[in-house]
Symmetry: C2
Subunit: 241 residues, 2 copies
């Protein structure tokens, strides 16, 4: 069975959290819109999402087609993949905890996006630079520290094993890797200041990067580069040295 992943074809964005899970488990999947090229892929994605025959229309990409299932919302897709592919504990308490970790990453990701779009999702960054500068300061000096510090605490209290839940890798570890990568790209100076106190978080990042399937993926042309169209964006004025 081949999964269909539907996401914007030119950015990592929220789709990347799903791609990492699919790549780690070696799942067969098609990244549908990328096959249509930049423009054609976007048009096809919009058309597919608006298909009136869908009983469960997604509100926004990414969404995953798994046979008859059309699953939207990143954390929801990962909940499904985690269960299918052993990327989450099988017991209820463990599943809920990994979902909670993922939803907290989703909150951080949404705030990282709001930094460059504080007053209008539909406006360009260039039309809200002053507001973005205000929002970025709080994000760099308070929110990043609070979120990443929380993950450091979670790791400090976890059973031994080096992953967020102890000895077994979960999709939340893959997502934490992606979060660190995104923040390093968008806020390199702020991260440099924070990382000395994030030893365990960075260890998770490093261990994910060394997984054979992830390493192969990151070296492939399936891994898009970060850019200033995605969720994590590098605008030097938002991250002073």
């Amino acid at each position: 069975m081949t999964y269909q992943l539907h996401y914007w074809p030119t950015i990592q964005g929220r789709g990347e959290f799903v791609r990492l899970a699919l790549e780690e488990v070696g799942a067969a999947y098609v990244d549908v819109a990328r096959n249509g090229g930049a423009d054609g892929g976007e048009r096809a994605l919009m058309a597919d999402m608006g298909d009136p025959a869908l009983d469960h229309p997604p509100f926004a990409p990414p969404y995953l087609v798994d046979g008859d299932l059309v699953i939207g919302q990143t954390a929801n897709i990962l909940l499904h993949l985690g269960l299918r592919h052993g990327l989450a504990p099988r017991d209820e308490a463990g599943r809920l905890w990994v979902n909670q970790l993922q939803l907290t990453i989703a909150d951080l990701v949404a705030e990282a996006h709001d930094v460059h779009h504080p007053v209008g999702l539909g406006l360009y960054y260039e039309d809200q630079k002053a507001e973005a500068a205000r929002r970025a300061e709080e994000f760099r000096t308070q929110r990043m520290k609070k979120f990443l510090g929380w993950f450091e605490t979670v790791l400090a209290r976890a059973p031994k094993g080096g992953w967020l839940t102890g000895t077994a890798l979960t999709y939340a570890d893959l997502s934490l890797f992606q979060t660190v990568e995104g923040l390093r790209y968008a806020f390199p100076h702020a991260m440099k200041r924070l990382e000395p106190k994030l030893e365990r978080v960075i260890q998770v990042r490093d261990r994910v990067a060394e997984r054979p399937n992830i390493r192969a993926y990151l070296a492939s042309d399936r891994r898009l580069a970060f850019n200033t169209e995605g969720i994590f964006r590098r605008y030097p004025e938002l991250d002073p040295a």
Copy 2:
């Protein structure tokens, strides 16, 4: 077994989505911080959340204590309660769909909050009124319509029965009720313009309000009033007639 709900004691906020589910099923629960009064309750909540003995510390309220489980993130709490109390389908596809609906409500709720706090979560509204006015315009004229219109489409495509998934009430219906109530409070003029095209959404709202346990809850002093400390806030300048 009595649940413990931990949430800020003076606002509906995200805790209200959990309260509605608990009330609908008649679950025994204690709204812990409210027993400590406004100030004492907040202090106790902060202390409890920071307890170093917690293996699964919540990042933020609300969180629910269910025996040995400490569950954070609103949608995650509802995923748990939905399964326990028949507020979600038992099959996997149905459970995922209700979770997806709830996560989309969570996105809308986060945007409703961002309207009055576009550039700083830690700043007062009074310190970001100009930015809030810009953000509010897009929220009123585009985002509310997009989100609520999506729920109207979902209801139009659902099996007959009048709820989001057809014949059975789920926690997502309760949350849609709360969303409509919050938006009517915060953006009465914008809602008045939108509601003629949201017939099915408003029907869900009305049917939830008529559930015996919900009706009793709304008439009780357990239901806090909306106010300008919560997520949905009425600032007349953000919702012109």
